[in-house]
């Protein structure tokens, strides 16, 4: 796995060739290229010096190839344009001549000299300095080979919501094996709880269940529900994963969903799938379309996993699927890439005391309202309020609840609330035509395909009253909820009586997975959402090589965005898996064991967790695959033990001397 260093010659013996390019008149018009070549002829280390009109042309390259062979050059300098243009060209030419590409130096005398200066003498002098510095560097360059490592072409997806499902399907369809881990009894995530989806109002379950079925039947997807990822070790292409299988106490291969167990179970508990608005038994199926189709026994609420205590479910199970003796087990898997799609939570209503979400049953959050709207929900899709089952004649919707609040809550915009609130208000007006829907908002953000039209329709056709102002307080007086707000457009302080209030709670990081993320050492932003490797150019990759991001774990987004990101992450995994082996730039920063004092400063400098302390030997060690070669550690190392390959401190000093020393 280490870089192979060949032909390590002492710098005194090295033979360097210099090729100065005219670039037509681009360089030669300002820089006296002949003088540069002439001056450098006798410079220490330079064995050959020439100039030519276009070095990048075929004859120019041929000249390089021939000269390397003829003069037995160990390194070359091409004084020409910026290395971003032709570094690869000349490296390839050198390679053809049998020279290691890391022995090529490009001296930029065009963009950073001839094109920006007019004084010929000064520009020529500067060109000489530039060339000298590269000679100084080249004398100490090592021949390097890219670091190579094999790739295990299997992907782990953490999270079985819509993002995880999409990523799993895409990667599996690329032809790679996928392990999908979901901690809940069924896949489906938050999306399966939703009623209709904006702006098309198609039913969320109807569009998601086919995907869920496809995942469960895909020959290359190993579906592990009611499992949790315990740890991931290793590095890109070569991860080892430990997965904890939680005991379901029901053998999913035997359960035929007859439902007899549920009927006899004496334990009634709050139903999470319905956001606590309904009840389920301790042995349950989260929802009818759950995948895998099996009952799960919730040990926390079961009277006791022994026939002595209850045992009713076991007695009625014809298939003998119930086994109280199931134990937690750990499964180990090896994968090459990990897609993190761990989703989000809603901000707790408790955090905003003045809205009374914890105190009043009829102050609910958006997801609870989704369940009320859902045809499969606790009210069968009839809008009834939780406290007494009455149909509310007035609903107030409060946007930006806990979002865009830098002071006490979350400073960011949760992005989807504007649209789902419009949808909520519209659905309510459709189902309760004489009901009054009032929305308090600060700004309405509808930047999506057909979003604004939907929002306009909510107001114009469904006659929802939008009031621009933030609600200060919600309290109960008698049977009514009183909402204190303001209309900043008219400057009126307003009070609205409501039968029910729906709070568009902020989307926040999923608390349940934070420990896992910490263990995986996946970088998060200050809000606990996953951090991308680059905000513009690498939006679906984690900073940690081999980890990819999908869905709301990365930040608030709507369904199409989550799906798009999942597909993008899958494509990136495909990129990785398409490589025969991983190769990595070898100009990294290794550790010189003899100099390293084990102080650990370099470890704190590394943004990629590529460095760690070998406690036994008391020295820092580097994972060459993870190191990106920024050199921050090299600058910080107090002992000089961390030296960047082909940009060592010694090389930098020599370059400085060459450029500045008269």
């Amino acid at each position: 796995m280490t870089a192979k260093k060949t032909d390590k010659k002492d710098k005194k013996d090295k033979r360097i060739g210099l090729f100065v390019c005219h670039c037509g008149v681009n360089i030669a018009g300002v820089v006296d290229v002949e003088k540069v070549a002439e001056t450098m002829k006798d410079y220490p280390g330079v064995s050959f010096s020439a100039n030519y009109v276009y070095m990048c042309s075929d004859p120019g390259q041929q000249m390089i190839i021939d000269t390397i062979k003829e003069k037995h050059l160990d390194g070359i300098i091409v004084a020409a344009c910026s290395p971003t243009l032709h570094e690869k060209t000349f490296q390839e030419a050198a390679r053809l001549a049998g020279l290691n590409p890391y022995q090529i130096e490009i001296a930029n005398i065009r963009e950073q000299d001839s094109w920006v200066h007019t004084d010929k003498a000064k520009a020529t002098k500067k060109a000489v300095k530039i060339v000298k510095s590269h000679v100084a560097k080249a004398l100490q360059n090592e021949s390097l080979e890219p670091v190579k490592v094999d790739v295990n072409r299997r992907a782990l997806i953490i999270g079985g919501g819509v993002s995880g499902l999409q990523a799993a399907l895409d990667i599996a369809d690329h032809g790679y094996e996928v392990i999908l881990v979901e901690k809940n009894p069924s896949i489906g995530g938050k999306m399966i709880q939703l009623s209709e989806t904006f702006p098309t109002l198609d039913c969320s379950q109807c569009i998601l269940t086919p995907k869920m079925v496809e995942v469960s039947r895909h020959p290359r997807i190993k579906l592990l529900t009611y499992h949790e990822v315990d740890s991931v070790s290793g590095f890109v292409g070569n991860f080892k994963v430990k997965i904890r299988k939680k005991p379901r106490y029901v053998d999913e291969t035997l359960c035929n969903l007859c439902g007899e167990c549920e009927k006899v179970c004496p334990q009634v508990v709050s139903d999470e799938f319905n956001m606590g608005l309904a009840f389920r038994k301790a042995i349950y199926m989260p929802f009818p379309q759950a995948i895998p189709g099996t009952y799960t026994l919730d040990a926390e609420h079961c009277l006791g996993l022994t026939p002595v205590r209850c045992g009713k479910c076991k007695d009625v199970c014809d298939k003998k699927a119930i086994d109280y003796d199931m134990k937690e087990t750990i499964i180990e898997e090896e994968v090459g890439a990990v897609v993190v799609a761990t989703g989000y939570d809603l901000y707790t209503m408790q955090a905003i005391g003045e809205y009374g979400g914890e105190k009043y049953e009829d102050v609910i959050n958006g997801l609870e309202f989704e369940r009320i709207l859902s045809a499969s929900g606790p009210t069968g899709g009839v809008i009834r309020r939780p406290s007494d089952g009455q149909v509310p004649k007035s609903i107030v919707f409060v946007q930006c609840t806990g979002s865009r609040d830098t002071e006490k809550h979350n400073p960011y915009c949760s992005k989807i609330c504007c649209m789902y609130t419009a949808k909520h208000a519209m659905m309510y007006r459709h189902r309760v035509p004489d009901g009054q829907a009032t929305v308090f908002y600060i700004d309405v953000r509808t930047g999506g395909k057909a979003f604004d039209e939907f929002y306009q329709r909510t107001i114009e056709e469904d006659r929802v009253l939008y009031i621009r102002g933030k609600v200060s307080k919600i309290f109960k007086e008698g049977d009514k909820l009183i909402v204190w707000g303001v209309d900043t457009l008219t400057g009126k302080k307003v009070e609205v009586e409501a039968d029910m209030v729906v709070l568009a709670m902020a989307m926040v990081k999923a608390d349940g997975v934070m420990d896992l993320l910490k263990k995986l050492k996946i970088a998060t932003d200050i809000h606990g959402f996953l951090a991308e490797a680059h905000p513009k150019l690498r939006p679906v990759e984690s900073l940690n090589a081999g980890f990819y991001l999908a869905g709301c774990a990365h930040g608030p987004k709507d369904i199409p965005e989550a799906v798009a990101q999942a597909s993008a992450a899958a494509a990136k995994v495909g990129d990785l898996f398409a490589q025969k082996e991983l190769s990595h730039d070898p100009t990294i920063v290794p550790v010189n064991d003899e100099l390293c004092s084990g102080c650990g400063i370099c470890i704190s400098m590394c943004p990629y967790s590529a460095r760690s302390l070998d406690l036994e030997r008391g020295v820092a060690v580097v994972n060459e695959i993870l190191c990106e070669g920024c050199g921050a550690c090299a600058a910080a190392c107090p002992c000089g033990a961390a030296q960047q390959r082909n940009q060592t401190d010694s090389q930098i000093y020599s370059m400085l001397t060459a450029m500045l020393g008269e």
């Binding site: 971003t84 963009e111 920006v116 007019t118 004084d119 000064k122 920024c630 921050a632 400085l656 500045l660």
Partner: protein, 147 residues
């Protein structure tokens, strides 16, 4: 008497400021030819020792160019640079080298113009400060005597 021509040593990060220097060239923006450039992968590769060494070797001014905060190719290397440079300016002061001789700027790949203007501006600033005096250089030499 000839005008004092300052020598300016520029450390440029590959991703932003060196690209900006190329962009200035592509747009044929002219600036004073007092600088020589050393390209590093990231501004955080620059050790304060390098800066001191440049002064010792005859630089009258040292310039460091990095990516704008938040845009670092290596996540936060530029913040590390900022911390080091801020601290190092204090040390320069103690060494008797005017901290104005060291300048850190964030110049993105798109800001060729800013690069060219900064080069001119810095060159005339250093010109106004005059050459780094031998006495100062001697001090610097003492600090890096074992190099």
């Amino acid at each position: 008497m000839t005008m004092f021509e300052p020598q300016i040593m520029c450390f440029l990060c590959k991703w932003c400021t060196s690209a900006a220097a190329d962009a200035a060239g592509t747009s044929r923006m002219h600036y004073a030819p007092n600088n020589v450039n050393l390209r590093v992968m990231c501004s955080s590769r620059i050790d304060p020792q390098h800066i001191l060494y440049a002064f010792k070797e005859g630089a009258d001014g040292v310039f460091i160019g990095g990516c704008h905060p938040g845009d670092c190719h290596y996540v936060e290397g530029n913040y590390k640079t900022l911390r080091r440079v801020t601290l190092f300016k204090k040390i320069l002061q103690d060494l008797g080298i005017d901290p104005k001789r060291l300048r850190l700027e964030w110049i993105s790949a798109a800001e060729g113009k800013k690069y060219a203007e900064t080069m001119d501006e810095f060159a005339s600033q250093i010109q106004a400060l005059g050459p780094l005096q031998l006495k100062e250089k001697a001090l610097a030499r003492e600090v890096v005597k074992d190099e």
